[in-house]
């Protein structure tokens, strides 16, 4: 067999490489605009530069968890392993983004509010969101029958998503230290190069999310396949030990060799 005919021994593909390079270019541009080209804000001085990372990571974390909840609904409806893997992959990326959101918010809070952490409604509900999806990832790894584990994690992912609108509207419902939305009402409170840099941040992190999703999904697929192969081998060994005559039992594996990503 010609080695060039075999699939690559990694999670990359020509399209994912294009996406990866676009992400790198966007991230470098974001760093340049965020740290060098954009001006300091009148009220928050240079600490506003943290917002070019904090706002996109926060919004993309919402997107990640929405995809997880949607994937959970779709799994409950279609019972397709594909949706379970999409949900779990998106949740893991969302936990990373939410962790960054919290750290960046703390670095903003220290010079502006005088403290790394205050028990403000937005901060508290965001920390809760982080913990809820860490719990979701733990449920995904609990030892159980595959379908039981998938059903449990689907429900946890859906129920945890209730916190997303609470986080979003917390600044309106409970007046705290956290400022109101800057861009979400089509009437942004910033303009010019600062608004451009914030939008660039949104594009850069959206590209990063897509790239991470492609690779994390393929990794999850490989994990699923490796686990199924391990089970198959263990069963084969058990049958060989038991001798002939035992009926073969089907293994719960993903039913398609085509990976639609």
């Amino acid at each position: 067999v010609n080695r060039l005919d075999l699939p690559p021994e990694h999670t990359g593909s020509p399209r994912s490489r294009v996406l990866g390079w676009a992400t790198i270019v966007a991230m470098v541009a974001l760093a340049l605009f965020g740290l060098v080209f954009s001006p300091p804000a009148e009220d928050f001085s240079d600490s506003v530069r943290l917002m070019y990372l904090h706002v996109p990571t926060a919004i993309l974390a919402f997107v990640c968890f929405f995809v997880t909840a949607f994937g959970g609904v779709m799994w409950l409806w279609k019972r397709s392993v594909w949706w379970d893997l999409v949900a779990a992959s998106s949740a893991e990326i969302g936990v990373v983004f939410t962790g960054l959101t919290l750290v960046l918010g703390m670095l903003w809070g220290k010079p502006i509010w005088g403290a790394y952490w205050v028990w403000d409604a937005r901060l508290t509900t965001t920390a809760l969101l982080f913990l809820l999806y860490v719990g979701y990832l733990a449920v995904c790894r609990l030892p159980a029958e595959p379908d039981v584990r998938r059903r449990r994690s689907a429900w946890v992912g859906i129920i945890a998503a209730i916190d997303i609108p609470i986080v979003h509207w917390s600044v309106d419902w409970w007046q705290g230290l956290h400022q109101n939305d800057t861009i979400s009402r089509l009437d942004p409170t910033i303009d010019g190069l600062m608004l451009f840099t914030l939008m660039l941040g949104m594009v850069a992190f959206a590209l990063l999310y897509l790239w991470l999703m492609v690779h994390r999904f393929r990794l999850a697929w490989l994990e699923e396949q490796a686990e199924a192969a391990f089970l198959e081998q263990a069963l084969t060994e058990r049958r060989a030990e038991a001798g002939p005559g035992e009926p073969r039992e089907p293994i719960d594996t993903p039913d398609s060799t085509e990976i639609p990503v």
Partner: protein
């Protein structure tokens, strides 16, 4: 730059975490790819 310590720490932490996470996904993908049959990992 005012608050340079906080700003640069924020950018460095973000870059570090994202690069480490992306690298761990790629590394695990390479390792697992060797254990999975070629026909089960055709990325289309």
């Amino acid at each position: 730059m005012r608050y340079a310590g906080y700003v640069l720490t924020g950018y460095a932490v973000t870059a570090g975490v994202l690069i480490a996470y992306a690298a761990s996904i790629l590394r695990r993908g390479r390792r697992l790819s060797r254990d999975v049959a070629p026909e089960r990992r055709r990325w289309t």
